[in-house]
Assembly symmetry: C2
């Protein structure tokens, strides 16, 4: 069976990508990155999701991106916005070079495993304000990766799969449900509490909530009791 490294945050999107990679027949090695994000409960969810969806193994690598600052997700001095998603603007929840760093780590693991496939749950629809969620960025990363490694130089080319990059949130959820995902296991909130309960008002919660509505299915998210509706 071909091996793949799947970046797994513990959120809805990456869980769906893991299920897609499994359905395509890959032996999936799930990689989660603890980059100092506020939403630690997402990492706990990653462990549960990897197990529920049949990953071969799951690894969490720690790297303190908070050392650089510059994002609401890693810097306690910058508030997570809760006023609704602004289109055509890069939000303060953007973490500088985060996707490049995560993909680089996935690349390292893939080379050690002898895997030639990376799966990544980037989405250019919801995250239109994030430069490193765009298809042209993904192609440039894949091109660079194929010059970076011993494997590539020896002819074993690497493919970066981004199967949900052009899907709406509703479509992603429909796909995942068809593949049997229990989205109640996933945590997407930027400021979930330690029990994994969502705030309901950050950008990530708003996108997720709207996605279940668009898909016409019940929202299995556990919200904090003090949620403002």
């Amino acid at each position: 069976m071909r091996k793949a490294v799947v970046l797994l945050s513990g959120g809805l999107d990456s869980a769906t990508v893991l299920a897609i990679a499994r359905q395509q027949g890959f032996a999936c090695h799930a990689l989660s990155i603890d980059y100092g994000q506020r939403h630690r409960a997402e990492l706990d969810a990653a462990v549960r999701v990897a197990s529920a969806l049949g990953a071969v193994e799951q690894k969490t690598v720690v790297i303190d991106l908070g050392a650089f600052g510059g994002s609401a997700l890693t810097d306690d001095n910058i508030a997570v916005p809760t006023g609704g998603v602004q289109q055509n603007e890069i939000p303060v929840t953007y973490v500088p070079a985060r996707n490049t760093i995560m993909l680089s780590l996935a690349l390292a693991w893939a080379e050690v495993l002898g895997a030639q496939d990376l799966f990544f749950g980037a989405n250019a629809v919801d995250y239109s304000g994030y430069p490193d969620c765009r298809p042209e960025y993904m192609r440039a990363f894949e091109n660079m990766a194929n010059l970076a490694t011993k494997a590539a130089v020896e002819g074993r080319r690497l493919t970066l799969h981004t199967p949900i990059i052009s899907m709406s949130k509703g479509r992603i959820i429909e796909q995942g449900l068809a593949l049997g995902i229990d989205y109640g296991l996933t945590v997407s909130c930027y400021q979930a509490d330690s029990g994994g309960r969502a705030c309901g008002v950050c950008d990530s919660c708003r996108l997720r909530t709207a996605g279940f509505a668009a898909a016409g299915v019940p929202d299995p998210t556990r919200y904090r009791p003090d949620r403002v509706r």
Copy 2:
């Protein structure tokens, strides 16, 4: 003064690159990566070198690449070779995707600082067996980086400088000495002891020793007393 992020290992090559960046007038922010390498003394050297060469600040970011294994530099079960450099072969001291990960972290810090210049001491002559030391890799990384960040999307392009990529070790040393570097502060050995004393027989030591001989200057390296000559 324009800001630059300079990757600084504490070795001879990156110290020279820091001196070059300073001479070009950059305010230099030195970034060292603790990736679980055996040669910890190199990181202590990075602190001394940054200070001696007038960096604005020096930061060490920790990331455990040993979690993936696959290299003699991070895996205690793989011995560091001491039998001499083999050309046209990728050595076991190659760390999978190491340069991609280090450059990604430099990119993140550059974006937070508002810096548009990265300096990296890659060398395609000595490390001809490392795929991620080649000029074509560097161009692909720069291209990817310019699609990855908010800064680049907003028109502040990033330049990846690799000033010593085509220089012989002897030429690098001549350059550095002309810029006033005390190479006695640097540590290049893959298995230096905790005091920073070099083994004299690993590939990195062999290249360094030969470099001082080629430059026709005394070798200021402190060697371990049990060095085999």
